[in-house]
Symmetry: C2
Subunit: 663 residues, 2 copies
């Protein structure tokens, strides 16, 4: 409720519900005659007043007057016409003789800038917490999406790149905000309403409003019907006062994700400006403020249900595609093939993109993070994926060499975990970097790391993947769902488990069983592998690298040894002491619910059955998981990748809402 009086008082301040105009009785607006000793007050029914300091002679009239006496005036409902209320003060002398009378005419208007601060999808009235943001189920504060999808499929740009509303459908990607006013038909001469943002927020937010007449919605000229109110060019703009009981709808559009230099919080203010003396600027006498947090980009772990599976078609991967199609369709999902005109021979679907999503109480859609890797697949995410309700975000590494560690096979996320009592209901992001003790090494580029850390809700973990020639965490680890314990298992590549299996085969008399049977690859026997001292030394080194990561994962995800399964996988070490898988790297799998698509390892056969597949199947069967082995040998493995590197899965979002996190 805002109250004003004519002539304007010298001093005003207030809160959105109740606005006060205190002024001294002697001096200023309600000046008392110099010899006044007592006073009395009368006012209209909707006006309340309080005398401060409270008069000693409570109940008696008139009241003693001194230099400190203040009158605090409020009104409990808005005025229907201007100056419909008044307050008068009668002044008395020493002998209570009347010395004079002063009158102010009062008009009250209610102003509230409203948002969905309780996060139920509705813009409530004047939420007392709308001006601040608090995490958690008992938290508060509105949510803003980066408008990073495109309402258009052709000639498209991200909607956030256009300083206008591109289609009516674009409004649902923006946060609703309502200006509710109640008062007379017009504000008094010279008063006006102004909406404003700070310079710092201007690059992160835009505000549109709807024109007041409803029929405009039928027009096609959107720019006309949803004019831009605030943006980087307009930090402050007058907004119309509609009169009576009115609501004006605003639409707030987020422009950038949280990042190293942007926590994600944005304020929007609405002020009532009062005319000062003629020729001087107006000054704000009442300001209402709302706060939004920009929704973070959220990744989806293997334990969430798939929606779509993406692979590339190339001139040489027919066999692989056939295997993938069978697996994906049998699992009940749709296989999306990126054809060669788009992928230009780049088959590493995992490496160019990472699927995630953004979520708010009013809207949610998938968002693809485009890697700065920028291989031949680089146009795919923007040209194919970006579209209505499918967002796009990228980070560009300027003046920095991008390395293989910038591919998103090196960016994964764990299932939800609890670590020393701290709950991560959305899991934790996992990336690979150089060994911390290395004096030099490859790293994921800083702009991408900064982006990932700034999202906050899936606090990242850095593993050490630079020991691998390709250098991706998905070469030695993955997560699969499990019916027991923490709801998942961490699978780790393990040369020790590999040697144990091969030694077991030898001990059982299968030393002459051959690997790589039926491939255009030189076959090798179990005995030959076990007698290769150089290979053993290489795998000792690899095991020590994986062990370091195992320790980090146990500590940072709160895992026990029981939560980890070691898979029998050998590596060999190439130039610069960097490792690649010796045979198809079974941990580099695709996880589709209970179905696993695993690189066919072509291991030694015992009784006609691959011993590596047998071991893998046996380990997974105990978790109720079904293994399908996919031949990726020629078209992926020989090119230093496997099934996971060559595919990507868009998954359902978490049912857990990120704003309910306790931070």
């Amino acid at each position: 409720m805002f109250l004003w009086c004519e002539p304007p008082p010298g001093l005003c301040h207030g809160s959105p519900l109740l606005l006060l105009i205190p002024f001294t009785i002697s001096g200023g607006l309600l000046s008392a005659p110099p010899t006044s000793k007592y006073f009395s007050v009368q006012c209209s029914p909707r006006v309340q007043y309080r005398i401060t300091p409270p008069p000693l002679e409570s109940g008696t009239l008139p009241t003693s007057l001194n230099g400190n006496t203040m009158l605090l005036i409020t009104m409990d409902t808005a005025s229907e016409v201007g100056n419909d209320s008044k307050l008068s003060v009668m002044y008395y002398g020493e002998k209570t003789e009347v010395l004079g009378k002063a009158v102010v005419h009062l008009t009250a208007v209610e102003i509230s800038l409203d948002v969905d601060a309780d996060r139920d999808g509705q813009v409530e009235r004047n939420n007392p917490n709308k001006g601040s943001w608090m995490w958690g189920p008992n938290g508060h504060g509105a949510i803003l999406l980066v408008n990073c999808d495109s309402e258009h499929t052709y000639g498209k740009r991200r909607d956030s790149e256009c300083a206008e509303v591109t289609r009516v459908s674009d409004l649902k990607d923006m946060s609703p905000m309502v200006l509710r006013t109640s008062g007379p038909a017009k504000l008094p001469e010279g008063y006006k309403l102004t909406m404003h943002i700070s310079q710092g927020d201007a690059e992160s937010v835009r505000v549109f409003r709807t024109r007041s007449t409803a029929e405009n919605l039928l027009y096609k000229s959107f720019v006309k019907d949803y004019p831009l109110v605030l943006g980087s060019e307009d930090l402050s703009k007058e907004v119309p006062y509609l009169g009576g009981n009115a609501e004006m709808n605003f639409y707030v559009e987020g422009l950038r994700f949280p990042d190293k230099d942007f926590e994600g919080l944005i304020s929007i203010s609405l002020s009532l400006l009062e005319p000062s003396s003629p020729g001087f600027p107006e000054t704000p006498i009442f300001t209402d403020r709302v706060v939004f947090r920009v929704a973070p980009w959220i990744m989806t772990p293997n334990t969430l249900n798939p929606v779509e599976v993406f692979v590339c078609s190339t001139s040489d991967n027919y066999q692989f595609l056939k295997g993938m199609r069978r697996l994906v369709e049998n699992s009940g999902y749709k296989l999306k093939v990126c054809h060669e005109y788009m992928n230009r021979g780049d088959r590493w679907m995992q490496d160019e993109i990472e699927f995630g999503y953004i979520d708010s109480p009013h809207q949610r859609f998938p968002v693809v993070l485009d890697s700065p890797r920028d291989g031949e697949l680089q146009d795919f995410p923007y040209d194919v994926l970006l579209g209505p309700d499918f967002g796009y975000v990228t980070r560009t590494a300027y003046n920095v060499e991008v390395s293989s560690l910038d591919s998103f096979g090196n960016l994964e996320v764990s299932p939800p975990v609890i670590v020393n009592g701290k709950i991560y209901p959305l899991g934790r992001i996992i990336i690979g970097v150089a060994f911390p003790t290395a004096t030099k090494g490859r790293n994921m580029t800083k702009v991408v790391q900064d982006f990932l850390w700034a999202q906050k809700v899936q606090e990242p973990i850095a593993l050490f993947s630079d020991w691998l020639l390709v250098g991706h965490v998905d070469e030695f680890m993955t997560f699969v769902p499990a019916p027991d314990k923490k709801g998942f298992r961490l699978l780790l590549a393990s040369p020790d488990a590999g040697y144990k299996l091969f030694r077991g085969l030898q001990n059982d008399g299968h030393g002459q069983a051959k690997m790589f049977d039926g491939l255009e690859e030189e076959e090798i026997t179990v005995d030959e592998i076990l007698s290769d001292d150089k290979l053993r030394a290489e795998n000792n080194y690899v095991q020590s690298c994986i062990d370091w990561n195992r320790d980090v994962l146990k500590r940072e995800l709160g895992l026990d040894d029981d939560d980890i399964i070691d898979l029998p996988i050998l590596f060999h070490v190439m130039e610069e002491n960097r490792a690649v898988a010796y045979y198809p790297d079974m941990v580099n799998m695709i996880v589709l619910g209970k179905n696993l698509g695993i690189p066919k390892p072509f291991g030694p056969k015992v009784d006609g059955r691959c011993a590596l597949e047998a071991e893998m199947t046996s380990l997974m069967e105990g978790l109720g998981l079904c293994c399908t082995y996919i031949d990726d040998f020629a078209s992926y493995h020989k090119l230093l990748g496997e099934v996971h590197c060559g595919s990507n899965v868009r998954r359902e979002p978490f049912s857990f809402k990120w704003w309910n996190l306790e931070m």
Copy 2:
């Protein structure tokens, strides 16, 4: 405690106190003969072991062996010589016949990287919380100072600009860190200790160490005695293992203050590297980590005791200097005069610098923040103030026009306050910016604002000072100590209070009393002032600007009207509707304990006494404060500044420690 065995096991992990080497009994280091069914374990006295999963037939020997059996081995004290402990496993067949025996030789070494994580000024042993940072009296985590003073007085640079220890005295500005090791005389062949930091922290920290032999401290070649270990050029470096029970001292130097892109947290790690197979890199098998937070720059409010008062001497300010010297010396403090060869006529000592300090459990010193204003006084802070135990920090506004709002008369700090239950024991920083509703205006430059916000411990408040021609918050507000209520009062310039006073004079028959008596200024009577409608209109506008700030201050500092005193000050409005004080602006005072140095207002005289001084003295007397009026009319007021603008006070630091803040 770290444990190793020869030959090295495949899998190690641990915590600093107790390191485990788990390995499967079947396969790997302690390989069991293929037909083993049972096993038993023997070990040296200092070795403990645990079988997992625990054997069912508890107490009976030998124990059943299966594929999952793991042996977890620990040692409770460090080894005195290499391989001084051992553990052996005996394997039995179906009928408990002995099939073989495996032995590992064990060496244990204790490694702890220690800091003052409990903040008592001493580096304790292996604090369990040393790897994280928590605010508050029950918090933990070590503290680092930006080494921004200079051990040298001549030819000086900030110590942080030199990648070496400049003097032994410089070590006390660094945080002590101790590497404590206990074990045999030498590490086994190929093992080594490495200290390392991340790329991201490298620009914020340097680590030196002391050479191990104590007599080196007598040398003068400091570079030799305190070699650089880590810095931007060296992210990782081997450090010597001393053998036996040893302590090696390190010194950690902070290089940059918290800022928009730097939260202030830094990690330093120490890893034990294990040789892998010959020809392969070593891999870390144990890492200890400590965390520091860089101490923020802290401002000191008027309620803290002064230490030194700074003013400029110019060709025309003899009268002012005389008044200041008497005030400062009578108050018991030392007046420091910056002479003309250094100030080059720039008298605005308040505007070029802001005094603050940095604090840690081991060291504390004042730090001057140098404004990007860079007037003729610009060399003073670096050339005169910077020195031993007197730090210097600045922020440079690149490619941005610096405005008058960047002067530090526009940067103040409140006394400690409690706002809606939230305690600010170090007060809140106050700056002035443009009106939020203004479509354009002057602002404090972004790099300085970012710096102030990033210090976190005195969360800033933005007031609106752009309505003033000079544009500084000290033109309309200050704080004075008070014996009651919140321990201080906020003083605000108030045209309304001014008009009330002048009207009172008129009513009492003093309408012909003259302002500016005895000055080379045109005199003006009370009646003339009161009959000037233009002046009244200007002051209405000024009052509305101050009222806005009054509301912000009440809300952000949790003040009541009783905590605020309105001072009778009139303004007039110049070009672009910007205001300057009409007569010397009494709120622009210097506060030295209970003594106030106030611009002599040259108000109308009643019975030979200045009515403005009388009112001011009466308002301050009630708080036990003593007013001294200093004539700054010609040399400051006419140049649009007053006493506060022309002086600066270095004050004692808070007794409250910033790390005890609850954040």
